[in-house]
């Protein structure tokens, strides 16, 4: 990678974003900010006084464990997807929607292998939002990057733009779906940090809960802006990094031990 391409021109990105008519959700003036009461459906718009994120400790991510993937599939109805009759197994495996992928990275020199769950990184400057022609891909005020599938036209530019290969396209009509996780043919989707749980005031995500239940505690979910919260305490205690930090996307999901 040349020095020139490593330089990030934030002004250019911002200009392109504006030109594409992609704007973040703005807070109406006069809206009073306050903390969300626990376990109650949200009645006021989300605000940017929180930013949801995660810290994933690759060292604690156990070999052979896929509890986070299984929990995510079940929480978000991904396990209800059905392979169309006669579809090639390998093709289906490439195309079926997955919100979390278990990825192994190996250092060629030392041979050290790191295993980590890879999902939407909930960037502060998400490339998927930059490229979306309809504004369907957007970043919510609380930092969650998600797709408004009511206006997604299925062009898949966001899938090409995402450096983390985090998004999936739904190729076929979906028969069974959950109320909390709508899903339909022709739209793109990805991890939304269990947005229904956020809106109902629940404390964690399905993947973090499953990881804790397995006793690994590799995933810490929390508010990046809460200096006394569990996430910030974990980030202060461990050296962590963003994957593809060179892109300066300021990801909401951080990794330790890679």
């Amino acid at each position: 990678m040349s020095n020139k391409s490593e330089m990030i021109d934030r002004g250019r990105r911002s200009f392109i974003g504006t030109a594409a008519g992609v704007t973040a959700v703005t807070l109406a003036p006069g809206v009073v900010l306050h903390k969300l009461a626990a376990a109650e459906p949200r009645s006021e718009a989300v605000t940017d006084d929180v930013r949801w994120g995660m810290l994933i400790d690759s060292n604690k991510c156990a070999e052979g464990c896929d509890a986070c993937v299984t929990a995510c599939n079940s929480e978000n109805g991904l396990d209800l997807q059905q392979k169309p009759e006669g579809e090639d197994e390998a093709k289906w495996d490439r195309q079926v929607a997955k919100w979390i992928r278990i990825v192994k990275v190996e250092d060629n020199l030392s041979g050290r292998v790191s295993k980590l769950p890879m999902m939407c990184q909930h960037c502060e400057h998400p490339p998927c939002v930059d490229v979306c022609p309809t504004g369907a891909s957007f970043r919510r005020a609380d930092g969650i990057v998600l797709v408004d599938r009511h206006i997604c036209i299925g062009c898949r530019y966001c899938m090409m733009a995402c450096p983390y290969k985090a998004r999936s396209f739904i190729h076929e009509a979906v028969e069974a779906k959950l109320t909390r996780a709508p899903r339909g043919k022709g739209c793109v989707e990805s991890c939304n940090l269990c947005v229904h749980r956020r809106d109902n005031g629940e404390p964690s995500t399905a993947c973090a809960d499953a990881c804790a239940a397995e006793g690994h505690d590799a995933i810490v979910f929390g508010d990046l802006k809460d200096a006394d919260g569990p996430l910030r305490r974990a980030l202060a205690a461990l050296p962590s990094r963003q994957i593809r930090q060179d892109l300066e996307l300021n990801t909401g999901v951080r990794y330790a031990g890679v």
């Binding site: 959700v25 006021e44 059905q82 992928r101 192994k104 190996e106 408004d148 709508p182 899903r183």
Partner: protein
């Protein structure tokens, strides 16, 4: 010019006809609410029935934007609320999808020849129950699931930076 006026008259007549037909259709047994659904036990919908008949789509559309973009899920105009209240149950206590033939959504929409796009993505029965007459799958009965964990991609390189490489077909 004259053609335009004639066309307008035809349009207006047609529209009036459809509205009359809808009114007659709704009035033939007084209601389209399915017996056995939660809605059948209530006096009226979340708004007066007449208002809901004409404006339910506007309420749902407004609510959807508030929910997706602002996370507001506490109001009474949610599609999930419609489904939960209007779904009816078959002989074996399994819920019948609201858009199945003869069910609440389907009865009017088929008569008025207006497609319902909601259920291309949204669930037609409440969560935590397996689907009834409309087909579909019970939870856990997923053929590809066992092979899922086996197929994790192995990316090799000196830096995790190779994750940016797109190997998507």
């Amino acid at each position: 010019m004259a053609n335009g006026v004639v066309r307008d008259i035809i349009r207006a007549t047609g529209l009036a006809g459809v509205l009359c037909a809808l009114a007659v259709h709704a009035a033939d047994d007084g209601t389209n609410v399915i017996p056995g659904s939660k809605a059948a036990q209530l006096d009226s919908c979340v708004e007066p029935t007449e208002f809901m008949r004409r404006n339910h789509m506007e309420l749902i559309k407004h609510q959807r934007d508030e929910t997706v973009h602002q996370g507001i899920r506490s109001t009474k105009h949610s599609l999930a609320g419609c489904v939960e209240c209007h779904v009816s149950y078959g002989a074996d206590e399994t819920p019948v999808p609201v858009n199945a033939e003869g069910q609440f959504c389907n009865r009017c929409h088929e008569f008025a020849a207006v497609g319902v796009d909601c259920f291309g993505c949204h669930a037609t029965v409440p969560d935590n129950v397996s689907e009834g007459a409309g087909g579909g799958t019970a939870r856990g009965d997923v053929s590809w699931h066992s092979s899922f964990a086996m197929s994790v991609p192995r990316l090799e390189g000196q830096e995790p930076a190779v994750l940016g490489e797109d190997k998507r077909p």
